[in-house]
């Protein structure tokens, strides 16, 4: 109950923020611009639109994670609005989970809105919607954003909004290259290689959620991939939020 109330409040906070509206509008505009690039891609304009459209969902979702999510808790501490919440019978871990859930709900709304925009553009360009591949791409992007939102909440609970935004971006970049990092590790002596492997294991495995190329080809990943990605996202976010809860438990509000 308390988690739902906190999630609702966070959802309102994100949805009523002008950043969200601006991001969605800009995302839709960018998708429309792909139409201008179609003469350059020699008949591959459908592939380009799907690829860029799904990239926009991740990219603009990340923009919201960084601009809103990374300051979600820090802003409450700075503005002292947190006093009104934590002086009530609200356990601190529940507070963090509520924040994360609210942010995730807003991110899903953004992903679905951009996805709907992409479908509309596809219908307009090619008279085909590619419903299943696009939906699978949007679902995976939503899972990816959930993982990144958990990291943003962790950093936001521990540091200032600016640092938290920097850490979130750093983890997003490093997480996107986690496969390459593993390949890179194989070129080093065993001790260093296993250290790099551990680091790569700690980073979020974001390539797992990247099905953009498949979707551009009009394909969807097998059901097992969806199940595994969903489980991974929930487990990873659970671990990150547990860490955040442990650290936040001792935080003081002067």
């Amino acid at each position: 109950m308390i988690v739902v109330v906190l999630a609702q409040n966070t959802f309102r906070e994100v949805v009523r923020d002008k950043v969200l509206l601006g991001t969605v509008a800009f995302g839709l505009a960018l998708m429309l611009l792909t139409r201008l690039l179609s003469p350059l891609v020699l008949g591959e304009d459908l592939r380009l639109t799907v690829d860029l459209g799904l990239s926009s969902v991740t990219g603009f979702g990340m923009l919201i994670v960084v601009m809103v999510g990374a300051s979600l808790v820090g802003k409450e501490i700075d503005r002292r609005t947190i006093y009104n919440l934590l002086s009530r019978p609200v356990a601190r871990p529940l507070y963090l989970v509520g924040k994360w859930m609210g942010l995730c709900a807003a991110l899903w709304v953004v992903a679905l809105m951009l996805g709907a925009g992409l479908q509309a553009i596809l219908l307009w360009i090619a008279g085909t919607s590619r419903l299943l591949p696009v939906l699978s791409g949007i679902y995976m992007a939503g899972l990816e954003l959930m993982v990144m939102a958990s990291l943003a909440v962790l950093f936001s609970a521990l540091s200032t909004p600016v640092l938290s935004a920097l850490y979130t971006v750093a983890f997003f970049c490093a997480g996107s290259w986690s496969y390459d990092l593993r390949l890179f590790a194989a070129k080093f002596p065993p001790v260093l290689a296993s250290t790099i492997e551990v680091v790569a294991g700690i980073l979020p495995n974001l390539p797992l959620f990247n099905v953009r190329t498949l979707a551009a080809d009009g394909l969807s990943p097998p059901p097992f991939h969806f199940a595994f990605a969903t489980l991974y996202a929930l487990l990873y976010a659970g671990c990150v939020l547990s860490l955040a809860a442990i650290a936040f438990e001792t935080r003081e509000f002067k």
């Binding site: 409040n9 309102r12 906070e13 006093y83 009104n84 002086s87 019978p89």
Partner: protein, 348 residues
């Protein structure tokens, strides 16, 4: 039933860094024993003592004031009691539940000093939300939010976003948020701050209403006449310690402490040596004010000034006041501080 502020209660183990889980006195609404808070600078490691072995007991149903200058430890005490800060040492209970337990905040309503709110919500949305967080069902929270919104005088602008509220309106909203779930204990940090005289009167009425319905109120204020009007008891805090606890009822029962004699006509440049220390003289233009200790001496002083041809303008008996006690306590703390410094210098 003994409800003294010190002694009698088991002291917590000073070695434990966190507030311990022990049974509090069920008769006390709020109880603190040996509460200490020490801050350590991250860079210089310098220690700052915000609270030093603070003992406090607030009885059920009473209005208790925490009075003290800035930095005395009032807000720190409130933040520890509400779980926003952790005590370095000591223990505290709210309605018998240790403050480390989230359940201790169930019967609690809290108004922080200069409350801050979410800009993106309306006042009604905010109240409904905090009502649910305090354990009310959605429908109940919504109904109470509407009622309290009216009660604190904000009902005329239900759809106004909080970013457009004035300071006084926010303070009223904070009070409504602290009270809407019918808490048994209310902690108000500077509830009169930022309010105009009408607002202050409303807050006084709210506190009196709470007392009448058996709610325990602990509040801090810099406005001593307000505290004097509202409190059953008050603690004077200086340097993170309770210097003195005053029962306001007793203060009112006390006899005449001083008599102020205002006169003009003949200049009184000095008082006779036998009265020195018992009669203070102040000159205000053509007027002289003599502050005389006790009513008996006032008779002799009056006779003496009239013999000297002075015209008596007014004779005002002065009873003990909270302000007088506050200033006396502050002077005592100052003097003991100076004594401490002197003895340190001597031993050095």
């Amino acid at each position: 039933m003994t409800r003294s502020l010190s002694g009698g209660a088991p002291r917590p183990d000073p070695g434990r860094p966190r507030v311990q889980n022990a049974t509090g006195d069920p008769d006390a609404a709020i109880r603190a024993r040996g509460l200490s808070k020490v801050y350590r600078s991250q860079w210089t490691l310098k220690r700052t003592v915000a609270l030093a072995d603070l003992d406090l007991e607030v009885r059920r149903g009473e209005v208790f004031g925490c009075l003290g200058p800035n930095g005395a430890g009032k807000t720190t005490t409130f933040k520890i009691l509400t779980g926003l800060l952790r005590a370095t040492r000591g223990a505290a209970w709210i309605m018998g539940v240790p403050i480390g337990d989230v359940a201790s905040r169930r019967p609690l309503g809290f108004l922080p000093e200069q409350p801050y709110f979410y800009d993106y919500l309306t006042g009604h949305e905010y109240l409904a939300m905090v009502g649910q967080l305090s354990g009310l069902q959605r429908h109940d929270a919504d109904t109470r939010a509407r009622r309290w919104f009216e009660r604190v005088g904000l009902g005329h602008r239900p759809r106004l976003m909080l970013r457009k509220y004035s300071k006084g309106m926010l303070q009223r909203l904070g009070l409504a948020a602290a009270l809407l779930h019918d808490p048994e204990v209310v902690i108000l940090d500077e509830p009169m701050s930022g309010l105009d005289p009408f607002g202050r009167r409303d807050v006084r009425e709210l506190i009196q209403e709470q007392r009448a319905s058996g709610v325990t109120v602990l509040f801090s204020s810099h406005i001593l006449p307000d505290a004097e009007m509202l409190c059953d008891r008050a603690a004077l805090l200086f340097g993170g310690r309770v210097q003195r606890v005053i029962t306001l009822g007793e203060l009112q029962k006390q006899g005449i402490q001083h008599v102020e004699i205002r006169l003009e006509g003949a200049p009184i440049l000095e008082v006779p040596p036998p009265w020195s220390g018992r009669v203070e003289r102040e000159a205000h233009g053509a007027e002289t004010v003599l502050r005389v200790e006790g009513a008996d001496l006032a008779q002799d002083v009056l006779r003496w000034v009239m013999e000297r041809g002075a015209r008596v303008l007014a004779v005002e008996p002065q009873r003990g006041s909270l302000e007088g006690l506050f200033i006396a306590a502050a002077r005592q703390v100052d003097a003991s501080g100076r004594d401490g410094e002197d003895s340190q210098r001597r031993s050095a």
